[in-house]
Every structure is written in C-alpha cells, then in structure tokens.
C-alpha cells in the first residue's frame, strides 16, 4: 500500500490548496451588493428561469455517456491483455480480434443508426 501513500499526500495537499483558495476567494474580495450582478449571466437579456435541478440535459449527452461506457469497458479489457500480450501468443491475438470485432459491430450499428451524429 505504501505505493499509494504519496498519492494521498499529494492529493491532500492539492485539496487543501484548492479548498483554501476557494474559501479565501470569498473572504478577500470586496462585497458590493448589486441586484443585476446576482442574476445568471445571459449577455444582458432577462435570464431564462431555470427549473430546480438545472433543467434537463439533451438526450444526446445520455447517448454519448452510454457509448462512452461501452468503449471504456472495452479499454478495461484491452489493458491487461496488452500487458500480458507477449505471453499469450496467437491465442491472445485471436481472442482480442474477436473481442474488438464484436465491439466494432456495435460501433457500426450505432454509427449507421445516427447515434454519432451531432447537429
């Protein structure tokens, strides 16, 4: 575990710094109340009222997130395979080709069905 301790040390340092800065930011600056300034900034027009919870995300983003999950998981499996590749011989190659081809099939489907289109 000791390998991870330095990361924690640096992480604490980073969190401390960032937290400190954010808190300091609200303390050091001047406070001049101005009604207009507290509105959401929309280039000067009347702000659009936002529903609680920040409104809804366009569904495209969900789609992207789902696709990301699919591919990210592919990567999970690719890494150990890559590391052990030299030990696995042709077997490793064949299996991974099958695996990647499978993912590519899904990929082709999504592509053709417009899952990757942005407008």
């Amino acid at each position: 575990m000791s390998l991870y301790v330095p990361i924690v040390v640096l992480g604490v340092l980073a969190l401390g710094f960032a937290g400190f800065s954010v808190v300091m930011g609200s303390l050091t600056g001047p406070k001049r109340w101005n009604r207009a300034r507290l509105e959401a900034y929309e280039c000067g027009i009347e702000p659009t009222p936002q529903p609680v919870g920040g409104g809804r995300f366009p569904v495209k983003y969900y789609l992207t997130a789902m696709l990301f999950i699919v591919f990210d998981i592919e990567i999970i499996f690719l890494y150990p395979w890559a590391v052990a590749f030299d030990h696995l011989g042709l077997f490793g190659l064949v299996e991974m080709v099958l695996f990647i081809v499978t993912v590519l099939i899904a990929y082709a489907y999504v592509w053709r069905r417009g899952g990757l289109e942005w407008d």
Binding site: L3, Y4, P6, I7, V9, L10, L13, A14, A18, S21, V22, M24, G25, S26, T28, G29, R32, R37, L38, E39, A40, Y41, E42, C43, Q50, G54, G55, R56, F57, P58, V59, Y61, T64, A65, L67, F68, F71, D72, I75, L78, Y79, P80, A82, V83, A84, F85, D86, H87, G89, L90, G92, L93, V97, L104, R113, G114, L116, E117, W118, D119
Partner: protein
C-alpha cells in the same frame, strides 16, 4: 484461476516484472514505496510548487509566444520580460469580488472548482522526472511514486476532473453554464476513449502500465538497422508507434479543452461555458486546472512516447552519463516545454472547430483508426513473437490499410453528401427532439435512414451512391 478470461487477466496483472522491493536495482516498480515520510512529503511539496510555477510560467509563455506569432510583444511590463505578469494577474484575481449568483446550488457551486483543480494536481504524482538519485543518503527515484496501474491513475484523475466541470455547469443554474458543462464532459469522455486506445499499443510494447517501466522500456530499443547503421536507437515509441502518437496528440488537444477544441467555453456561443458564473479565485481554480492539465498531458506524452526523462539519441551516443544523476530532469523539462509550446502554437494557428466536427473527429475517426491500429500492431507483434516472416504480412497489411482508407474516404464523402441532402430539408418540421418536455432521441427516425418518405428516400439514394 478457473475462468479462461479470469485466467488470462489475472496472469496479465501478475505479469508485472518482479523485483525485490526497495533495492533500486533494476530501476522499476520495485524502487518505489521505500521513501521515508519526510522524503515523500518533500517530493509532494516540490511537485506541487513545480506545478504552480509551471502554470505561472506557461501562462506568461503562452501570451508571449502568441504575441510574437501575432507580431506584437505580449506582456512585458511586470518583471523581466513580463515574467511576473501571471503572478500579478493571480493576485488581482484574489482581490476581486467573489460573486455567487442567486439560485445556484451553493454547496456544489463551491465544490466544483475544488473538484476541477485537485485531481489535476494529483495526476502528476506518477510522472517520472528522472532516475535514481541520492537525497540525504537515501537512494530514491525522481518520481513521487509509481503504480502497477500508473497510467490508469491519470485517466481516472482526468475523469474526476470532468465532475468539476459538469457540476460547475449544473450548479450555476444558467443555460450557458449547463450547456458548457455538458459539452465539456461529452468532449472529454469522447476523447478519453481514443486516448485510452492510443495507450494500448504502448502497453503492448512496454508490457506494463507503470510509467517508470515504460520509460525503461524505451531505453533499450534493441538493435535496429537503420540506414546501414547498427546502433542503440532510443526506441522511443514516437518512432515505433507513430500512429498512436498522432492519435494521442489529437486527444491531448481534445482533453485539454483548448483551442481548437475549446468548445465548452466557446465565447461566441456560450459566453464562457461552465465557468460563466464564476469569478475571483474560484474562476482561477478552473484556470489553474486547465493549465495543469496541459502540463500533465504534455508530461504524459513525454513519458509514454518520447522516452520520458531520457536524453535523446545523439546525446547518449556522445555522453554516457547523460541519463544518470540529476541530468534527466533537464531532458524531461525540455521535452515538456516542447509540448507546451506545441499547445500554444496550435492555439495561435488554428481556428475553433464546430462541435459536430469535434465529435465526429473523436468518434468517427480517432476511435476506429486506433482500434484498427491496435489490431495491426498486435497482429504484427504476435506473428513476430511466433517467429513468422514479417514481410508479406506487412505488405498485406499495408495494402489493406490503403484500401480501407480509400473506402472510408469515399464513405465519408458519400455520407457527407447524404447529410447535406438531409440538411437541405431542415426547413421542414423535424420531429422535435424535446417533444413532450423530455428529450428522447428519435433513434429510428426516418431521416436517419432511407425509406419512409420522399425526403428520406432521397437521402437513402445518396447514401447508396
């Protein structure tokens, strides 16, 4: 070890080279985890300070360079060559009013900048600055720590950072911020896939995910016959795995969210994206995160593709001591700043791309190309491991690649025109993607395919053509 895949993966993880821990010989994973606590603290602090300095410096650097490229001087008042400019900017930021708009989700609004900045800093803990040196009697590597899964840490931290952006956008309760946050996350995760894929070939050759091991693996490239010369070429993966490197460069730009891929904060459309509502030091935290990310990505690229802290080939040929002692830090910094310069250069030269172009590049070009490249590399390597004659294989692969490229180019052209056909009809009432107050994609809507109605037929014809 019973399940085949279990078997395979377990073996794979176990395959990290085993060395006695803390002997320092050979230099690798085994050299880590034996520092005394004060050394760990000192190293962490040094990295922290180093990063802050890098940010200050690179902000100045960027402005100067861009200034030069645009035939103007850039900041030159504060300090020699304007070096203190960015520091002063920071101080000024701290004295500005910290505006918390009405209606924001206060807790998240405060947390978001922290979540953006902190992970960026942490990534750097696994970047090797150099080999083993002696500090206070301790032999210790010039690297905070290393893990068997070091590169994953970087990916994990960049994903953590995304939370900062998304939450910033979400908590601001403003349409621009929200859209910026969403875009940012979509962009980062899209490019993260390609980035993750670009690493695979590196791991394949290095046989490890540990950064120090990867650097080591690039030291001894074996003997390559190059222009009739036999020598120990520094087998940097930038040479060996050039396509991976190129892909990484693209994804690096995408991940950093800088021009030409700075869509999340595209001023023209989104004011300032997810940090529109931020001011004062909170805003600076996002700023900080961006520049640290830039440094991290550059450092990672250096480590994975440019032999890390190792001196480049001609120097090692002349000077055998170039890779020992404290010298490697120099080589590392040179390479790092090369990349930072590259970032700046790109920023100065290229315009911002459109969002759909950005996503298209990520999803439709980088991902398939990297998958193909992985298949190719692994096939070649597997066949070489099995002692096959590589020349016909290479030839065949080359032909195949050319064919694929041509086909995909034609395809792209064709689907592009199909898209144009569809766009032509955009005036017609399209199915409203936000119908009923909730966005569900018409995944199967006629205009995506063919058949159905006249206009879809047209586009289908175009597709077939």
């Amino acid at each position: 070890m019973n399940v085949p895949t279990t078997h395979l993966l377990a073996d794979a993880l176990a395959a990290t080279p085993r060395t006695e821990q803390c002997t320092g010989k050979p230099y690798g994973l085994g050299s880590f985890g034996c520092d005394p606590w004060w050394l760990v603290g000192a190293k962490a602090l040094v990295i922290f300070v180093f990063l802050l300095l890098t940010v200050l410096l690179s902000v100045w650097f960027e402005r100067r360079v861009i200034g030069r490229m645009q035939l103007r001087p850039g900041p030159n008042r504060a300090g020699p060559f304007g070096l203190l400019q960015s520091l002063l900017d920071g101080i000024k930021g701290a004295t500005k009013e910290d505006i918390v708009p009405r209606g924001v989700d206060k807790v998240v609004f405060f947390l978001a900048p922290v979540m953006a900045a902190a992970p960026a800093l942490v990534s750097f803990s696994i970047i090797p600055f150099g080999g083993i040196v002696s500090i206070g009697g301790h032999k210790t590597p010039l690297q905070l720590t290393d893990l068997p899964v070091a590169v994953l840490l970087v990916l994990a931290m960049s994903s953590m950072g995304v939370y900062g952006f998304v939450l910033a956008g979400w908590s601001s309760m403003s349409p621009y911020s929200l859209l910026g946050g969403m875009r940012s996350s979509a962009q980062v995760i899209s490019y993260e896939i390609a980035m993750g894929l670009s690493f695979v070939a590196v791991f394949l050759f290095a046989g490890s995910l540990s950064t120090s091991e990867i650097v080591n693996a690039q030291a001894h490239g074996g003997t390559y016959h190059f222009l009739g010369m036999t020598g120990h070429l520094p087998s940097w993966y930038v040479v060996l795995l050039f396509p991976s490197f190129v892909i990484y460069l693209f994804t690096m730009m995408g991940e950093s969210g800088r021009i030409p891929f700075d869509l999340p904060e595209g001023e023209g459309e989104l004011v300032a994206g997810y940090h529109t509502e931020y001011s004062s030091l909170k805003f600076l935290m996002f700023y900080l995160a961006e520049y640290i990310n830039m440094a991290t990505l550059s450092a990672l690229c250096t480590t994975l593709f440019l032999g890390g802290y190792r001196a480049p080939w001609p120097i090692t040929g002349i000077w055998s001591g170039a890779n020992s002692g404290w010298w490697p830090i120099l080589w590392f910094l040179i390479k790092l700043w090369m990349f930072i310069f590259f970032f700046v250069w790109v920023r100065a030269s290229l315009p911002r791309v459109r969002y759909d172009q950005l996503m298209r590049l990520g999803w439709k070009v980088l991902i398939p190309v990297s998958l193909g490249w992985i298949l190719f590399v692994s096939a070649v390597r597997a066949l070489r491991n099995e002692k096959h004659d590589m020349r016909p294989v290479m030839l065949g692969a080359a032909v195949l690649i050319v064919i694929l490229l041509v086909v995909s180019a034609i395809w792209e052209r064709a689907s592009g025109s199909g898209k144009a056909g569809a766009a032509e009809e955009a005036a017609e009432p399209e199915p409203d993607p936000m119908a009923g107050g909730f966005p569900v994609p018409p995944l199967d809507a006629p205009h995506y395919h063919g058949a159905g109605d006249a206009r879809a037929d047209k586009s289908a014809e175009a597709t077939r053509a």
